[in-house]
Subunit: 465 residues, 2 copies
């Protein structure tokens, strides 16, 4: 059967079901584990967020099947869909999870919670879980290439509107759906895809992620129960391409598959080094560079001018954030934090630090300039220019076209800061070890135990304070 | 506070929270109960559908809080969200539930399951449940006026994309959310709104309805748990108006509220008399009229030409349906059934009748004509022309601009045929009585008992076969 005679759902489903861990390159496998670990770190960093706490309250006092762990210190079990929901909210709560410029969104925060929760419920092997995760992320990237930038430009938060398809194929893999059932799962997912950028800077943004993770399992399970859906959900009139984008670019998807593209080796999947919107990265880097190069003193800054493209501006709408969460989507806030501490960490969104920065923000002006938009619209790589004017009239200027990637050392620091566990602790090594050897694990129990050990360590540290 | 300074969510929430049963006109209240009953009839008719059975399988072997009745013969209880889901699927499974030409969708099939399931779980009074239902339907209509026809033209199934907001305010009413919480519920619902017309003619179309009913409760409960969302979800850049329509028409919404419009007295909410897509109604009426006027014999028909607008055509994409469910969205199938039986009933979508009609369908040709589109795009009132040519070359022509409304007698017949209960049976009278006196009920128990009695009657009849 030629690829040209298949529907896009059939192409995607065949592709996703064909991925085998022993056939992907060792670099794909290695990078996949790196991003899997990064996502677990984000969950461990996000479990105490306001969003996760609120969602946990919603879940309390209700009965569920006890099959999948909620990744919180209590490690209570609930059913796979709800566990994926809560863990997905945690994964994105800090906006610290990885970002794909192909998808224009955050694939791992959606797919890892799906794979973990369903893999635990089904007793899947580590290899099955890792393969499901890889398939899910690849599908997110392929759909991003076919639907974006227009999906995002139209107002959709691609992390969930595209992420749900990644979660659905990951769930399809773990359940062992047939090709036709996987096509049905994608067709059902088309009618479940949702999430608006208008909720950027609210608690709902991380709920998008949890819901996409949860709904992926839901869609696969409905398909397993013989719910049939359109096989043309992407390209049909009144399908995803028509409703969410300006059509569906079949060529982009087929070309990527035929050339053997992998999201894990294309340089488009980025582990974040700061817990802020990726669109602010160039500005943060410019601020840190100026600050370090010139050893400028925070209190000697008179004012700041930041120039960005309109698309970058649109992703960072809060000039004066009214709460710390909005600060992650505020150019002035991110720039101020970077100038003040030559870094941006989780703690910079505490109420105390928020109060200490907020008075400075009116000194930072943001302007848009069309010439700063690079070809890849909305992917966070638009150029940013930063001009800092000191009280003594000294001026410093920096232009950043693309954020540098974080080193391995930064990654370990990130995991340590997310988990609140000492850099050299045994529980951190156990967690890394469990993920880096996941393909040999008969089940997820070792990985889940290592996560629990991290929580116990956090508890222990808190008790010692 | 002037209405002009409020966000659309605030306007809608204030409006929805202000509705009181003792302040709406007696006609609103009477019609609301009529549509409430009609929806229960559809649930009773739809519970044995393939979609509901599949969804029930998905739910089986899982644990849930036991608080709300699944309206099936077993009357098992599950949690309110899942009960609303299953009952919503049943309500729309036959495509027999009421339709709003203001919403361009099916409001009651979404809102009644939400109100019933949550009302039972919370022990709400009949008055509270009826008021919540009225508020939900009014909100659906207001949003339809503000977002359609473009929401539907863009590919969205407004029944769910708009219905979820109706379900959310109904749930907000029953829970007793504050104004701010109701605004949050609407903001969360914006990020949960989904459902594609590409799934028309598949089992997923009725799943849209169940999910909107379920998600309405979910959104209200999250808001109750202090999840905060955008207050500008309808009119913000990257909000519902931008993402799903061509903006949000604030004037339509405010004008309707300020003039005291009610969906229940505007002639736009129609109880369906045939279980097929409303866009096929003019064609069905033309076929029945010709057939009855001229006593034409089915076997003497040579061929048929049906002319409709493009929008009507788009809603009925299946010229040769491959299964009975697609027949509900097929002009040839609906016309053939109407010509054959001078009516369309639930039984016309059995496998037997499907087989008996399918050979005739190639004799029916469908053409589109721009001049047949009335001003109110996509609302089912576009003109249809039907030409029937007999084997002896006699010709019959009928043109229908707007479907006639069903009489009360037809309504009772519909309820009887949906419930499978004899027209004069005690259980049917009990059901009618429970709904028509719902505002005096301290709880939903009498209504639920009368529904159970209908199921017992069905069982009894089946046992006697």
């Amino acid at each position: 059967m030629s690829i040209q005679t298949l529907s896009m759902s059939e192409v995607l489903a065949m592709y996703a079901l064909s991925i085998r861990l022993d056939r992907v390159s060792s670099l794909v496998s290695k990078n996949a584990k790196k991003h899997f670990l990064d996502t677990i770190a984000c969950i461990l960093g996000g479990f105490s967020s306001e969003s996760t706490r609120a969602v946990s309250n919603y879940m309390s006092n209700r009965q569920y099947t006890s099959e999948s762990s909620v990744l919180m210190p209590s490690m209570i079990k609930t059913d796979a869909e709800f566990a994926a929901f809560i863990n997905g909210v945690s994964a994105h709560a800090l906006d610290y999870d990885d970002v794909s410029t192909a998808m224009i969104g955050h694939p791992s925060a959606v797919v890892v919670p799906t794979a973990l929760a369903l893999g635990e419920a089904l007793g899947s092997s580590g290899e099955e879980v890792l393969t499901a995760y890889i398939a899910g992320v690849e599908v997110c990237a392929l759909l991003g290439l076919s639907l974006n930038p227009r999906d995002a430009v139209n107002g959709w938060h691609s992390t969930s509107t595209i992420g749900i398809f990644g979660a659905s194929v990951a769930a399809a893999r773990l359940i062992g759906l047939s090709l036709n059932q996987t096509v049905d799962a994608l067709g059902i997912a088309g009618s479940e895809a949702s999430g608006l950028r208008a909720n950027t800077g609210t608690m709902v943004k991380s709920i998008h992620v949890g819901r996409a993770a949860q709904k992926g399992i839901f869609c696969a399970k409905l398909a397993e129960c013989n719910i049939h859906a359109s096989k043309l959900i992407f390209e049909a009139p009144f399908g995803i391409g028509c409703a969410m984008s300006n059509g569906f670019c079949e060529k982009a998807l087929i070309d990527a598959i035929e050339t053997g593209r992998s999201e894990f080796t294309s340089g488009t999947l980025v582990s974040k080094q700061w817990p802020v919107c990726y669109a602010a990265y160039n500005a943060v880097e410019a601020a840190i560079t100026i600050s370090e190069k010139n050893s400028i003193k925070w209190e000697c800054i008179d004012h700041v001018l930041c120039r960005v493209s309109q698309s970058t501006r649109d992703m960072l709408p809060y000039d004066i954030p009214s709460e710390p969460l909005q600060g992650k989507f505020s150019l002035p806030y991110c720039i101020a934090a970077a100038l003040r501490w030559q870094n941006i960490s989780i703690e910079d969104f505490s109420d105390d630090r928020f109060s200490s920065l907020i008075g400075f923000l009116p000194r930072i002006k943001v302007e848009t300039d069309k010439s700063l938009m690079n070809s890849a619209y909305l992917d966070g790589r638009d150029t940013t220019e930063l001009l800092i004017v000191m009280k003594n009239r000294d001026k410093y200027f920096e232009r950043v076209d693309s954020p540098r990637l974080s080193s391995n050392l930064l990654e370990r620091n990130k995991i340590a800061s997310c988990t609140g566990v000492d850099f050299s602790s045994q529980s951190l090594f156990s967690l890394e070890n469990a993920v880096y050897n996941i393909e040999n694990a008969l089940s997820l129990s070792e990985l889940l135990n290592s996560i629990m050990a991290c929580f116990e360590n956090i508890h222990y540290q808190e008790a010692n304070l």
